[in-house]
Amino acid sequence: MQFQSVTCPHCGLLCDDLSVEVSELTVQLNNPLDPTCKHAFEEASLAKGYRPNPLIAGKPASEEQALEKAAELLKTAQLPLISGLIADVQTCREALALAEKLGGVIDHANGASMRKSTSVMQRIGEVKTTLSEVRNRADCVVIFGKNVTDKFPRLLQRVLSPEKSLGNESTKSKKIFIIDISQDGVTRCEQKENITYMFLNYPLLESIIYRFQEIITKEKISNHDIESEELLKLFKIISSSQYTTFIWTTSEFKSESVEHTVQALTEIIKLLMKKIRCVALSLSGSKAEVTANHVATWQTGVSLPVSFTQGVPIHDPVIYDGTKMIHNQETDCLLWISTYNPNDAPPATDIPTIVLGHPKIQCEYADVYLPVGVPGIDHRGLACRTDSVATLPLQKLRDSKLSTASKLVKNIYKLI
């Protein structure tokens, strides 16, 4: 059976123009022929009649037994942690209710990187845009990091190189710059089709951004080296453009400097905004972290992580960082929810672990494993896009009889 307008939840772009063929439990992406996306969909295929068993300590159990065991582990824990949270809206809603009831902590697997941008927003705010604005309005695009387009495979095709645009020729054929450091110490700027690759001789991508900030602030250069000259040239191009979009993803930056770098980029944009239009498109959401963070924010009033240990929702990203809590064994029971991809298993740990996971996830070591359906394949759902504006529907494409993660979380809630 053919399904059209299918949404792909495997990166934050949430492209929804997919054509998918489903035959019994086999899922085949027909179009587009993007290898990353294709592979992710195929991972959801199951052999005919296959239905993974719930496991307790690696041994097959009924769903009811596994739920009871999960509830028992969570109920007796001093400080349970719900993490992963790679899931649709409804599962996140139920997980928040459960965390609140348990008096535990809830975070997303990618929480640590996500909140570096959040803290910049809390300090100085943002100037943002969305995918369709970039597609139709932007005549100049500056991408910080050479791997951004690989991490968001259809960014170029769907957003940056549109066949049609609501604007003019300059918004259809955008000036695109991809900036990164030179690998061989030699600055070079190369034009390939409509993309200018600026590989500059700086030690870090962050160094380029800070230098760029200095040039834009002073509107001139003090050192007439080739790198500064190139950045000044870029500043002049931006100054004469109608609508410039800066695109980045924080995983391209050194983790220890992400906050500082995002703040520098935001300050550049706010400075440019005094005279021209310049906006940010910060890309994320490849593990549904945008969805999880949105739901947590509206339900509790604060973004992830959220601790309910004191009876009220508390956002303290230092104390309640989920990844650190697992690493430092500060939690004594982990509920890991991972529904989209078999590779998103929980980190190896001695902590008692319950996994509500993709039917092919590898987690034999978990104390409890409950297989769940994949949102957008086994059941309907909702997912939030990288730009935090569009929420896309996920369709049900097959009848696998796999339980939804949201239902299982709700059942655990009832048992506690």
């Binding site: 809206v89 604005e133 139709n136 957003v159 239009r277 339900q299 604060v302 935090s388």
Partner: protein, 547 residues
């Protein structure tokens, strides 16, 4: 099974009942004025020392959608200061200025509100707005979808589309976004800002060649011709700019006599007189409302203290960003549809401008003669959090209290305002009109806002007190669809409201150009843009009620 509410003073303006003592009955979910033989009386509330009004309705409160979540994220200070623990029946939450969704529902219900309407739903963000509202318990909800800065409509107008085609698009967007009304924010201005235009007045031409006046005219006509109960809900041009009352009057005239609702009109009632080049134009605005029966307005009263402004109006939010307090601000261009701007703000009573804004809001309330056409709002959270409504009601009902408060604000503002000379005090009957009967009427909610036979049993019982603010802050009882949900100002049962929508008929041929538009320019398909009725229930989590 029936419940009797015995002996209270009833304020039910829809039936012209002004404080008469009479009994009311609740049978299942509905109000009855008399019991039939088969109705078995289960409980009687003796309410001799009480007054009864229908559940209150807020027609303009920002409670759901992307901008609210941005505000929650940015105002982490608010969350830290106001945490709420869970109880056996209530979920935990945070926030006073921009509360979390559950907390919002509880606080509204505790004040006797039973329905709230989000006035700035972006169609592309409608799922999120509805999800947030679905997670806002206790009250019914609904949304007004934004038009007037979307490229599709602006191009239609520029290309000379027929009114009938525009009507079809307006009806289609209401279906697609599951909303109950149409909202315009700074017509054409948000769009112009994307082209680096920093101001757009009503009769100026925007980048697509249309004028804000054309947009208001076409959309008010569409809303009228489609038979949508709620008039075009308009956030006028030049919000916050001294002298903007002229843009407001021009916006009113653009409706050509058809129904138009000007929202948070206080922010659009400024003159340029005096030493500060900032003055009250409340008199001119009130006169325009009094003289034009097609016009309604909500005030958007400010209160002194910390809040955060959240608006679709990127152009004017950027204009005001230097006044951010704390110093942080966000603006966002959105999907060739609209935008948003979020800026924290602290209204200071010793500031001339803020003190005069406070006075201007009250001057409008007191000078608009017809309480059926002026609505009690603070444009939550832009003027103040909704929890300040009881205080606002006291300011309207108690002249000496009002003057006492005014006497401590900026003295220059006191000197230039004629607020102290205004004797009017609102009556309970008038408060019931502006917070119950009139909102229900203007939204087309036939079974809400009144206490007549067959109305939904959304009822607020206040115990009479000398301090009117205390009375309105903490009702003795609140019933939602016949169930007791609040007692002595505290939640005793949690319930889930519905989402009110309207679905006017239209020619589905409009989907042909829309499909092409989505295919050519958008990054979401038309099919996925539309929210179906079953998706509202199954995925978003709210039943809908079609009005």
């Amino acid at each position: 099974m029936a419940i009797k509410l015995s002996g209270a003073e009833i304020y039910d303006p829809a039936h012209k009942i002004n404080g008469e003592r009479k009994d009311l009955y609740i049978v299942d979910e509905k109000i009855k004025t008399n019991l039939s033989d088969k109705d078995k009386l289960e409980k009687t509330y003796e309410l001799d020392d009480c007054i009864i009004m229908a559940g209150a309705i807020d027609i303009h409160t920002h409670i759901g959608g992307g901008k609210v979540n941005i505000a929650r994220t940015m105002m982490i200070e608010d969350a830290h200061l106001h945490p709420y623990s869970s109880s056996e029946i209530c979920r935990a939450g945070n926030g006073h200025i921009v509360p979390s969704s559950f907390t919002t529902g509880y606080r509204y219900a505790e004040m006797g509100y039973t329905a709230c309407f989000e006035p700035a739903v972006l169609a592309v963000n409608a799922r999120q707005a509805h999800m947030e509202m679905a997670d806002t318990p206790m009250v019914d909800k609904g949304g007004y979808v934004l038009l007037g800065n979307d490229d599709f409509l602006l191009n239609m107008i520029h290309e000379g589309a027929t009114q009938s085609a525009i009507n079809d698009y307006v009806a289609w967007i209401l279906h697609a976004s599951q909303c109950i009304g149409i909202k315009v924010v700074n017509a054409g201005g948000i769009h112009a800002f994307k082209f680096n235009q920093r101001r757009l007045d009503v009769d100026e031409t925007g980048p697509t060649g249309s004028k804000p006046r054309d947009i208001i005219t076409k959309l008010s006509k569409a809303v009228h011709e489609l038979g949508i109960a709620h008039p075009l809900h308009v956030h006028a041009s030049n919000l916050g700019v001294p002298g903007n009352f002229e843009s407001t009057l021009a916006t009113i005239s653009a409706a050509d006599g058809l129904p138009i609702h000007i929202t948070h009109i206080q922010f659009h009632s400024y003159g340029t007189e005096g030493d500060h080049k900032f003055s009250s134009a409340a008199c001119a605005i009130a006169e325009a409302i009094n003289n034009n029966k097609n016009v309604t307005a909500d005030v958007g009263q400010i209160m002194f203290g910390q809040t955060i402004t959240t608006s679709g109006d990127t152009m004017m939010q950027y204009f005001g960003h230097d006044h951010a307090s704390p110093k942080k601000w966000t603006v966002m261009d959105i999907e060739c549809e609209a935008g948003c701007g979020v800026t924290p703000f602290k209204y200071r009573d010793k500031s001339f401008v803020n003190a005069l804004q406070w006075a201007i809001g009250l001057e409008i309330f007191l000078q608009v003669n017809d309480p059926w056409r002026v609505f009690l709002t603070t444009d939550h959270p832009n003027g103040a959090p909704f929890s300040s409504y009881p205080h606002l009601i006291k300011l309207l009902m108690d002249r000496s209290f009002r003057n006492d408060v005014f006497s401590i604000v900026n003295s220059d503002a006191q000197r230039v305002s004629n607020l102290k000379s205004m004797d009017r005090e609102y009556s309970l009957y008038e408060i019931a009109i502006m917070t119950r009967a009139a909102p229900a009427k203007i939204l087309g909610l036939k079974n809400h806002g009144h206490l007549g036979e067959g109305a939904n049993a959304n009822i607020t019982v206040y115990r009479k007190q000398d301090d009117i603010e205390q009375m309105f802050a903490k009702p003795a009882y609140v019933f939602k669809n016949g169930e007791l949900i609040v007692k002595d100002g505290e939640i005793v049962k949690t319930v889930q409201g519905v989402t009110h929508v309207t679905k006017p008929e239209y020619d589905q041929a409009i989907e042909k150009p829309l499909t092409k538009y989505f295919d050519d320019y958008q990054t979401i398909s038309l099919d996925n843009f539309k929210i179906s009725d079953d998706e509202m229930v199954e995925c978003i989590g709210s039943e809908i009620e079609i009005n």
